[in-house]
Amino acid sequence: MSRWALRIGTLGYLALLLLVPVGFVFYRAFEHGFGHAWHAVTTPAAVHALELTLISAAVAVPVNTVFGIILALALVRTRFPGRGLVNAVVDLPLALSPVVVGLSLYLLYGRGGWLGGLADHGIRVLFSLPGIVLATLFVSMPFVVREVVPVLREIGTEQEQAAETLGARPMQIFRRITFPAIRWAVAYGVVLTTARVIGEFGAVSAVAGTKLTLPLYVRAEVENFDTSGAYAASVVLALIAIATVVVLRAFHPREETG
């Protein structure tokens, strides 16, 4: 009996908090027909916002992946003082408010900031694509690292050491031994990073100014009472999120649910 109560309680909680709200947005978006929603999401402003979102992802995700792997290698395969501190810094974006992230970038690259001089040399960081990319890099930094680190630790260094004694160079070792071992972890991290980069709102709000990514576009539409535009854009973002969840699931077989 208590099993049923627990089941209904938890499923009910999930339904009311998660499923029904997300489903309702789909309903509202398509309430007046598919054509209406399509029209709302293909306005020039919406298309611009989607373009900007995808371009910033196209830059940020590879950068974070490459450096994430390097960071993981440095953390697991080398020793240096302050390694624990570096760990904490890597985890920090997960616990830090995105507005604080955005503000930090604003203070660094704005007028009067330490790197504010870049603007005088024609390099616009704030209110422009570089600022958006830097904001998304900051908040998505942990994902690839956290996925790769445990795998690196698990697989140990035997194979790599063996290859080295046979005369292989570091890049060869990485390409033929290390990377194949971590590639699924990297893929998983890439999916998480991509979802986070596309969906980031708080940090990007602080640095983007007039430029609207798709999440920022949703807010702007709500504030202008253009609810159909807001719902349509939300559906696009929700579909990306659902695709993310599905892909993550595919990478990760059912073993963890018992």
Binding site: G110, S128, L129, F225
Partner: protein
């Protein structure tokens, strides 16, 4: 470290400029919070003209003084369309807008409006005059005068209406104090205030007539009432120093006063400044005054801004402090 930083930024700048390069000139419009739909129509019309074809626009809409501060902090702007002269004069002081920005046929004023009372459908609490606002149970929504231009127009409308009704300066200031004690929340912009009111908070919202009309257009269940005594809102626009360097920006700026643009304003509920377009379309309240109506103690924005809205010594600062803010 610096190399990595510059490398990162360069990659993204290249990507971004590749994205932007295909578009030709871009004109950056920075405006106060309400005229998004109006400027949207004007920009579309402009882009159909020969001067405007192929010109891209970036637009930003937010509380008037917040926008002025953003531009001063580095946000790019070619045309600034703000809620009132002082916010543009702020940019003049910061060296971003030329001193003679208002020396054209309409003193730089793009459109007019009036302060109105937005009420619930059917005006259930029968709010008609300024004295109704300070009745015991009435809650008034207005934005914060230190971020919003619309809020400052509201304050001066309230003050001026009292003076027109025969009150002395001291009594009018007392009224302002009383009024703000009926304000439960001060959102940061006029549009944000409309959001708050639309969500069900407050009995009456003080705002631009054009935003009241906008609310009706968007299906919000409100009515609006133009009080007998109210102020003429005159919203200015200026070309910034960077805008002066862009022929497209200069063309767009001039276009704002074309008949097409002024008609677009009228369609969105703004009172056009072009007499030919404005003819007979809007109701003129009997007690309409302006910020320059000396007989009601309104001697121009420069003096009013200093006396009422100085952040330390102004009358509104004292009132906000008495509210615990």
């Amino acid at each position: 470290m610096k190399i990595i930083s510059i490398a990162l930024v360069s990659v993204t700048v290249l990507a971004g400029s590749a994205h932007g390069a295909s578009k030709g000139t871009t004109v950056d419009l920075v405006a106060y919070s309400t005229p998004k739909d109006a400027f949207g129509k004007i920009i579309s019309a402009f882009q159909k003209t020969s001067a405007g074809s192929g010109v891209g626009f970036s637009q930003s809409y937010n509380a008037s003084f917040d926008q002025a501060r953003a531009v001063a902090a580095g946000q790019s702007a070619d045309v600034v369309a703000l809620s009132l002269d002082p916010d543009i004069d702020y940019l003049v002081r910061k060296g971003l807008v030329p001193k003679n920005w208002s020396e054209n046929s309409h003193r730089g004023i793009t459109s007019n409006s009036v302060v109105v009372f937005v009420v619930r459908d059917g005006n259930p609490k029968h709010i008609k005059g300024w004295s109704d606002l300070v009745k015991p149970d009435i809650q008034v929504i207005t934005p914060n005068p230190f971020t919003s231009g619309g809020a400052r127009w509201n304050v001066m409308a309230a003050y001026g209406a009292q003076r027109r009704g025969g009150k002395t300066d001291k009594q009018a200031v007392k009224y302002l104090n009383k009024l703000f004690h009926h304000v439960p929340v001060q959102p940061d912009s006029a549009r944000a205030a409309l959001q708050v009111f639309a969500q069900g908070k407050g009995d009456v919202l003080l705002t631009y007539e054009n935003d009241a009309i906008f609310a009706n257009k968007k299906g919000v269940h409100t009515d609006y009432h133009i009080p007998k005594a109210t102020i003429l809102i005159e919203t200015p626009a200026a070309l910034t120093k960077s805008g002066l360097k862009k022929p497209a920006a200069k063309s767009f700026y001039r276009y704002i006063w074309s008949a097409t643009a002024q008609r677009a304003f009228a369609d969105q509920g703004y009172r056009p400044v072009l007499k030919s377009v404005a003819k007979g379309r809007f109701y003129k309240p009997p007690g309409l005054f302006t910020i320059n109506s000396r007989k009601y103690g309104l001697n121009g924005w420069t003096k009013v801004q200093r006396r009422f809205f100085n952040p330390q010594h102004g009358i509104m600062a004292a009132i906000e402090r008495s509210l615990g803010h």
